[in-house]
């Protein structure tokens, strides 16, 4: 019966947002389960990890949009049964108890117990470990995913995916970093000189492409994340960017300028053949595959200002996709949806505002996703429910918009300025 119940829910849920995600959604917080995340007092790791782990799990659950966090303070050992009455009096539905251990062989161990207060039942007991303490954010995300899965809420599996980004450090100097989505864990994978536009090479996230300025011409490099083995694929006068990878990982959308003009190309990594997609005496950049990799959506200034267009691979016609804004210079696509960055102002003498907008290719309605500052470089998640973006104001932030929940979150970058991101 419960399966049928949930099946109906998911059919409704899916059809709602397939219908038109551009519509504003108002959420009722009172219907979400309230969870209390507590760390046991019998074993302490020390340092900041205890506190940070709890904070990260709470942040994950908040970002999911499926939980309310309770700030109730409880002092308890891991093996002591919870005082259900205390939780009930505080209107808490779920109680997550954590225990951290430092193990000589396994490194950091996190044991968890999840109690359903309403049924007074232990419903999940699990152990997580990582050999290096600095990787504790991924344990937090895994725990959050399991709790979310227990509730059978819409997937948040993207939380323990890697983010890859480039950040400027100085003139002609940047580095490429792998992180979790909160930027708590960070690992530099390419440094020295100018290295920009990192892009995952496949869904497994075991290798990535990026643009290197090591040589006189910018080059496209493929690097294995685990061995650091590098392969130079192509180079071009002027610029070279890998802006998208086909779903099977075999084809790349590139912006190159072998004829002095920035145009869109598709490069087959197996045959090593590149095919020119656009031919225009201006700017064509930022291509991405749509419609089962048969069409390219891209940015062009062919109307004398940057806007979003599409072209079917192998065909001649160009289709204009956006009829809003006067400076739309970046976009991301998911099925029939497009999110684009639009410069709202044209101010040579002061700050300019960039906002993100969501449209459906089947409707005229435009939904604004951000309101202030410089919001750029949108990237849809693999399931289309979230958008990653860069916000550059007084400092750089990695932003996440949870489209279906009308929420957005910002995670500050401690040093440097975000150049580009992928997940």
């Amino acid at each position: 019966m419960i399966k049928k119940y949930l099946l109906i829910f998911f059919i409704v849920y899916t059809s709602v947002f397939a219908l038109d995600a551009t519509m504003e959604i108002v959420k009722s917080k009172s219907t979400l389960p309230t969870i209390s995340v507590v760390i046991s007092s019998d074993v302490k790791i020390g340092g900041e990890i205890d506190k940070n782990l709890v904070s990260l799990i709470q942040k994950d659950l908040q970002v999911s949009g499926h939980f309310n966090n309770s700030e109730i303070s409880i002092d308890t050992d891991y093996d002591i049964q919870p005082e259900y009455n205390t939780f009930e009096e505080n209107a808490i539905d779920l109680y997550l108890l954590l225990q951290l251990k430092n193990d000589n062989e396994k490194g950091l161990i996190v044991n968890i117990k999840l109690y359903d207060i309403n049924t007074k039942t232990l419903v999940l007991s699990k152990s997580y470990s990582t050999s290096s303490f600095v990787r504790y954010p991924f344990l937090a995300h895994k725990i959050s995913i399991d709790i979310n899965n227990y509730l059978k809420a819409p997937s948040i599996d993207w939380m323990d995916k890697f983010i890859i980004f480039s950040r400027y450090l100085d003139s002609k100097t940047s580095e490429i970093v792998v992180s979790d989505y909160t930027l708590t864990y960070q690992k530099v994978v390419v440094k020295g000189g100018l290295n920009i536009f990192p892009k995952w090479a496949n869904k497994q996230q075991d290798s990535f492409y990026y643009t290197s300025y090591k040589d006189i011409r910018p080059s496209l490099i493929k690097q294995n994340l685990y061995t650091s083995k590098r392969e130079k694929l192509l180079s071009s006068d002027g610029m070279m960017v890998c802006s998208d990878v086909s779903s099977d990982g075999k084809k790349l959308v590139l912006t190159m300028a072998p004829n002095d003009q920035p145009d869109i190309y598709v490069y087959d990594t197996q045959t090593k053949i590149k095919t020119r997609i656009t031919i225009y005496n201006g700017i064509d950049v930022g291509g991405s595959f749509v419609e089962n990799d048969t069409k390219i959506v891209f940015v062009s200034d062919r109307l004398k200002y940057p806007n979003i267009f599409s072209k079917k691979i192998g065909a001649k016609g160009i289709e204009r996709l956006i009829y809003h804004g006067k400076n739309n210079s970046q976009c991301t696509t998911f099925k029939d949806y497009i999110v684009y960055s639009s410069r709202e102002t044209d101010n040579e003498f002061g700050s300019n505002v960039f906002n993100l907008y969501l449209i459906s290719t089947y409707s005229d309605y435009v939904r604004r996703l951000t309101t202030t500052g410089r919001n750029q470089f949108p990237k849809f998640s693999s399931n289309g429910e979230s958008i990653l973006f860069i916000k550059n104001d007084d400092k750089s932030y990695l932003g996440i918009i949870r489209i279906n929940y009308n929420k957005s979150f910002l995670f500050p970058l401690k040093s440097g300025k975000l150049q580009s991101i992928d997940w």
Partner: protein, 211 residues
């Protein structure tokens, strides 16, 4: 658990309703009586060690490999000179110093103004003179932008600026195949203050001579 699931499902359906879902034909069952709660012992027996994705990152921990810096620039000992709003690039070709003034552009534009076209012509004359003594001299044109855009379009804008400058050199008489272009987008500012004068200085093309 039943109550949580029920509340959550109803809550999320409420979201769906507010989003414009026509849900009148959908009925919900009260599954309270039919859902069995897992006993404590069963849950404890399910204890397992999670697959540790983070551990797989181990391969990268000590393997950040540095790229070397741009060897071309190192070889030619180039120096950027900024003076009273005008920036120039100094190239040292076998002891001969050539100072070439950068060409600047308007906000969001890649065409040369009359004033900048004159600067391009002055640069051409210096390059042409240098080429008389150094056969095979290459000219590298570096397009740059202000900070108003971190995206790919900004890199293309820098390239278009370099292309405009290349066209001017070719029109004046430099062979096209002796010119190399590269765009640095906003990654190569000569001024990092947040003001109009600074942004203007960063919208430029630098000329570098390579032996």
């Amino acid at each position: 658990m039943n109550s949580i699931l029920k509340n959550t499902v109803l809550g999320m359906c409420a979201i769906g309703l507010l989003a414009g879902c026509a849900s009148k034909d959908v009925e919900y069952e009260d599954t309270t009586a039919s859902k069995k709660v897992e006993p404590v012992k069963k849950a404890e027996a399910a204890t397992e060690t999670a697959d540790d994705k983070a551990a797989s990152v181990a391969g990268t921990d000590e393997q950040s490999v540095s790229d070397s810096t741009d060897t071309t620039e190192t070889n030619t000992a180039l120096v950027a000179v900024t003076n009273e709003g005008v920036n120039s690039v100094q190239s040292d070709i076998d002891g001969k110093v050539v100072l070439l003034e950068s060409v600047h552009f308007s906000f969001d534009k890649y065409n040369l103004t009359d004033e900048m076209r004159e600067v391009a012509t002055v640069n051409y004359n210096k390059i042409d003179e240098t080429k008389q003594s150094y056969d095979g001299l290459k000219i590298k044109l570096e397009g740059n932008c202000d900070e108003w855009g971190t995206d790919e379009y900004n890199y293309a804008l820098g390239l278009k600026r370099a292309k405009t400058t290349k066209d001017a050199l070719v029109a004046d008489g430099i062979e096209a195949n002796s010119i190399v272009m590269v765009s640095f987008g906003e990654s190569n500012p000569v001024c990092t203050q947040k003001n109009t004068a600074c942004w203007k200085m960063n919208r430029r093309v630098d000329y570098r001579l390579l032996p």
